[in-house]
């Protein structure tokens, strides 16, 4: 009892404390405006898959949004939808046409071509996002498939080196 009383005496004086959050709100507003602005100016939907590491380049042309073709070690994706399976960048022979192009990719590109015929304003460019370790053989096969379906103008997407 004695101890409790002693502690009771040491209780500090109660003070009204209010955190000054006006300046914090100011800082948050600035950060928010900056993030919103940078999010609206970038080509936001171009995000390579987790297994794709893009090559770097110092010089680059303007990047405009168009149909996205991606080559990862496991698959070929058209607009984020897998169209062909790869095994360490190697295609299954059953997926190859006689001319060496990729059959499922050809079909997917024909579908895209038909969609574009309905909306002729869109460009026939194609963005190619390939893993930096991909061998030229698979890249060329995919490019030939695209060219045969009328997508002969490509944009090789690269990470801009600082």
């Amino acid at each position: 009892m004695k101890r409790r009383r002693r502690f009771g005496k040491r209780t500090p004086q109660k003070m009204d404390m209010a955190l000054q959050i006006t300046s914090m709100a100011d800082i948050f507003t600035i950060i928010l405006v900056f993030l919103l602005k940078s999010a609206s100016t970038g080509v936001s939907t171009i995000t390579p898959g987790s297994s794709v590491s893009l090559p770097g380049a110092n010089f680059s042309d303007e990047l405009s949004e168009s149909l996205k073709l991606e080559i990862s070690p496991e698959s070929i994706l058209l607009d984020d939808k897998p169209v062909a399976t790869l095994e360490n960048y190697r295609l299954d022979k059953a997926d190859l046409e006689r001319d060496g192009t990729v059959r499922p990719l050809n079909l997917a590109l024909i579908n895209q071509r038909q969609k574009k015929t309905n909306s002729p304003d869109e460009h026939s460019h194609l963005m190619l996002l390939a893993d930096r370790r991909a061998p030229y053989a698979i890249v060329k096969t995919v490019m030939d498939s695209a060219a045969n379906q009328g997508f002969s103008d490509l944009k090789l997407v690269v990470v801009e080196d600082p």
């Binding site: 928010l32 010089f59 030229y136 045969n148």
Partner: protein, 151 residues
């Protein structure tokens, strides 16, 4: 002179409750930071040789056909056909493709022939980043780079 304002009758001290605004801002900032991409992407314009005609304007017809072949060992072979027939090998430098030698050689050709288009090919095993580095060097010098078959 006194700066203390006299409170009029009916006037009340009020304070905007910023706590809920801060909460909203915190959620928004977290979402934007998570979804933000901090890498800057660019593109290199190329074309692929095809039998199907393109909608775009064809690349300028070069006075001399120049084909750059990237070898698996990093060796470049530059083949000239047309008014001048020549094949030049640019060996690799410390196992890496000699981009400086290629820049100098293509730069000389550009001065000599007003070169505006180059065809590029590579061995099957050449990695994509080496192809991109070569495209980058050539795009600095000429306006059109076309991927073609090996000569």
């Amino acid at each position: 002179m006194s700066f203390i304002r006299k409170r009029h009758a009916g006037e009340q001290d009020f304070e905007l409750n910023l706590a809920s605004i801060i909460d909203c801002f915190t959620v928004l900032i977290t979402y934007l930071l998570v979804s933000a991409s901090f890498i800057s992407l660019g593109a290199l314009d190329v074309s692929v040789a095809s039998s199907v005609p393109s909608n775009e304007a064809p690349p300028p017809t070069p006075p001399v056909d120049v084909t750059v072949l990237i070898g698996r060992s990093g060796k470049y072979t530059v083949k000239l056909t047309g008014p001048k027939n020549e094949s030049v090998s640019l060996p690799s430098k410390e196992g890496q493709p000699d981009l400086t030698a290629l820049t100098d050689y293509i730069g000389n050709l550009k001065t000599q022939w007003s070169l505006e288009a180059i065809t590029l090919a590579a061995d099957d095993g050449v990695e994509y980043h080496e192809v991109v580095k070569t495209v980058e060097v050539m795009r600095k010098l000429v306006t059109a780079v076309t991927f073609g078959d090996r000569p």
